[in-house]
Amino acid sequence: MKTLLNIALGVIAAIGGFVDIGDLVFNAQAGSKVGYPALWAVPVGVVGIMVFSEMSGRIVAVARKPNFVLVKERYGPRLSTFTLIASLVLTVLTLAAELGGLGFVLNYFFDVSVGFFVLVAVLAIAAAIYFLPFGGIERIFGYLGLALFVYFAASIKLHPDWGAVGNGFVPEAHGAAIYWYFVVGLIAAALMPYEIYFYSSGAVEEGWDEHDLKVNRANAFLGFGLGGLLAVSILIASTQVLKPAGISPGSVGTTALVAEVPFGELGLLLAFVGILFAVGGATIDTAFSAAYNLAQHQGWKWGKRFRLLDEPRFALSLAGFLLAGFAIAQTGVDPIELTEYAVIFSIPVLPLTYLPILLVGGDREVMGRHVNGPLSRVLGWAYFALICLLALAAPVLFLVTNGGS
């Protein structure tokens, strides 16, 4: 039971990855433009992130090495620096999008100005990072983000055709590029690089060792499973509400409307609370991921488990990334477009992120008796092949479908 209650790291990492500001709209778009046939892509992505997060958490528990340390060790200086730069660019763009998204959501409550609430959001996130312990951040943002379960309730109350929903989980051959664009995007959203960087560094923050392997499995399977369930729920509810009306959502307000239709104002408020904390969680995931990666690449002392003022380089880089995200968000760039670009263009970086986990997880000298078993090995390499395929397909589909429009 204690193990089950210790899944906040998995929940916040999953929520940050599956239902961040871009995914909230992307999942709704997939429901409105493709409908149930896109559903199967979500579990494909979920199983992939479960496999890799379990592996990276196990590596931390056994070898105490977070993911970017593996990148540095396995790739050497040039390729690891390239991986660092690519991941930092994409993570900071996503961070900016999350801050912009928070501005929009807060403005729906108070209607003052989005720019003003982006400032409020960055100050609130900075205060949470500074004052709350790592476990407190995980629990507040992870568990309050679960208010998004209003979409699970909505997907049931809207009485979908359950036969069609079931068929949606069976992959089908399809000629339309738009279908494949959303399938690839849904799989990739589950595998965003910052999730795995945050998860493995978070495991170090929590001081995992070999006694925590059960906690790691619970986080990987239940935490990411919950994130996947939320993504599926949004897709089903959007198929019911938006597709028949011909609405292609362009803002998170439309995704919130999907919860309002079955439950009225209460549904709307629950959706906003869930969105606020889920997007807040994603903001924290991305800010920490960027700072973790830089510190691990440079060999600095890092982590929230120490006093931030005792690690000035880590603390300054964390503050710098938040400020960079804030500056980008203040230009008025559309956060939805920004994060969707980040998802699609992060796909080519995915192989570089996941390969070191596979190599170290399968290295008996490092992992001893906790080396990858046959199932982890087969699934790990199968997913790595899929990731390489996605890396080739994503930019082409993006161009062919004009960004899914």
Binding site: N107, Y108, F109, F110, D111, V241, A245, G246, I247, S248, P249, G250, S251, G253, T254, A256, L257, E260, V261, G264, E265, L268, L269, F272, N402, S405
Partner: protein
């Protein structure tokens, strides 16, 4: 402007009208939050105005030009109906009226893009 570009642009107007109509129905039934209705109507209105500007700036010939002009006029009407929600986000009667208007305008957009 090619016919498929115009079709995409009109589809976007149709989507905004349908989105606005859905929200207007919630306003009419007093099931929403006024600040949300106002802010979301403003967002949709800005999207529609931006689409109208793009349409206005695009060069087109023949049948496409005629439909493009109709689409610009349609965008103006959708923007006006969304403005009704923005002005009175708590009024059930305004919500009903805006919802009816946006539903009609969405249907008009659908007919306009047919065959492009």
């Amino acid at each position: 402007m090619r016919p498929e570009e115009l079709a995409r642009s009109i589809k976007s107007l149709e989507s905004s009208a349908a989105d606005g109509a859905l929200m207007a129905r919630e306003v009419a039934r007093d099931r929403t939050k006024a600040t949300f209705a106002r802010a979301h109507a403003r967002e949709l209105g800005e999207d529609v105005d931006h689409e109208a500007e793009k349409l206005n700036d695009a060069d087109a010939n023949g049948e496409v030009a005629a439909r493009k002009a109709a689409a610009v006029e349609l965008a103006g009407a959708i923007s006006q109906a969304l403005g009704q929600i923005q002005t009175a986000p708590s009024s059930e009667s305004e919500g009903r009226s805006a919802g009816d208007a946006l539903t009609r305008l969405g249907d008009r957009a659908s007919r306009l893009s047919a065959g492009l």
